[in-house]
């Protein structure tokens, strides 16, 4: 066999086809690519451009795999993803996920309280409220813990933010969140 001179265009095209088959086992790939140089030489000998005659490297590689009965590109899971799926399929992960799922309403309430706190911190000019906004409902005086008479602003703020958080959480939950779909394993 003599040295084969391919045009730059053809050599680039062939390298790209090779790259699109990179995930296959070496023997499969080598067998599929064995005749590629000969084909390119024949195509160019007839004065045709490789891309015009054979199409894009991606399409060519896809057609080659499908005709040879090999899996399409991307169907093979990356090792890390595979590992992740295996871990997710473990019984203890499943039960933990169920348990965490049951704790969700509690998390919504906590999130609401934090949001309310942020709201108070941002808007309140009251120094005491700034320092201990959660205690805005009560204050420490000579009689011990005492209720601020007539000031229900904190009730409104925290009650409102908790309610908004819970309603939002329920809404997202009912719409089947994307994150949930991603974590469901394909078995």
């Amino acid at each position: 066999m003599t040295a084969i001179a391919l045009s730059l265009e053809a050599a680039t095209w062939a390298a790209e086809v090779r790259a699109h088959l990179a995930d296959l086992p070496a023997t499969d790939r080598d067998e599929l690519l064995e005749d590629l140089d000969a084909l390119i030489v024949d195509v160019e000998a007839e004065g045709e451009s490789v891309v015009d005659r054979l199409g894009s490297p991606r399409d060519y590689a896809a057609e080659l795999r499908s005709a040879a009965g090999l899996p399409a590109a991307g169907r093979v899971d990356a090792p890390l993803l595979l590992k992740l799926r295996q871990v997710i399929a473990q019984p203890w992960v499943r039960s933990s996920r169920t348990f965490l799922g049951e704790l969700k309403p509690g998390w919504w309430v906590a999130r609401g309280l934090v949001l309310g706190l942020l709201f108070v911190l941002l808007l309140s000019s009251d120094t005491q409220a700034r320092h201990l906004p959660l205690l805005r409902l009560w204050h420490w005086d000579s009689y011990g813990w005492d209720w601020y008479d007539g000031d229900y602003s904190a009730v409104v703020v925290y009650g409102g933010s908790v309610m908004a958080s819970v309603l939002f959480g329920r809404r997202v939950e009912l719409r089947h969140p994307i994150a949930k779909g991603l974590l469901v394993s394909r078995d």
């Binding site: 066999m1 003599t2 084969i4 067998e31 599929l32 064995e34 005749d35 140089d37 000969a38 084909l39 030489v41 024949d42 195509v43 000998a45 005659r53 054979l54 199409g55 399409d59 060519y60 590689a61 057609e63 080659l64 795999r65 499908s66 005709a67 040879a68 009965g69």
Partner: protein
């Protein structure tokens, strides 16, 4: 979106199902290398057949044990890998010919129903 479910049959879809038997039939006449098989298929009316489909099919038929191969060196370019039908390939071709004949008869009669009615 119901329209998306309708299936439009075209020659390239049909070809996928019968490319094996077409390649075997071509090689039954004479041994050939990939590009040569493509040329002969196109010359015999399968103008739409893609190079990658033929090369992939040759590979698969070879892996399935229906073909043997031998390399013919060339002075001017890369060596060529010739494929030839072996006994198993001839048996497969004979079976597929029977399947095709039966299928073609069935479809012919189905397509004739309308004309006869």
């Amino acid at each position: 979106v119901r329209i998306a479910y309708y299936y439009v049959m075209d020659a390239s879809q049909l070809l996928k199902g019968v490319l094996d038997v077409a390649v075997l039939a071509v090689l039954a006449v004479e041994d050939g290398y990939g590009y040569d098989v493509v040329r002969r298929l196109r010359g015999n009316g399968l103008e739409e057949v893609g190079d990658a489909s033929v090369y992939g099919t040759l590979r698969r038929l070879y892996a399935a044990g229906s073909l043997t191969s031998y390399v013919v060196p060339s002075d001017e370019g890369p060596h060529r890998k010739y494929y030839a039908l072996n006994d198993r390939g001839r048996t497969v071709l004979a079976e597929e010919r029977k399947t095709w004949d039966g299928f073609a008869r069935t479809l012919d009669s189905l397509l004739g129903l309308e004309a006869a009615a």
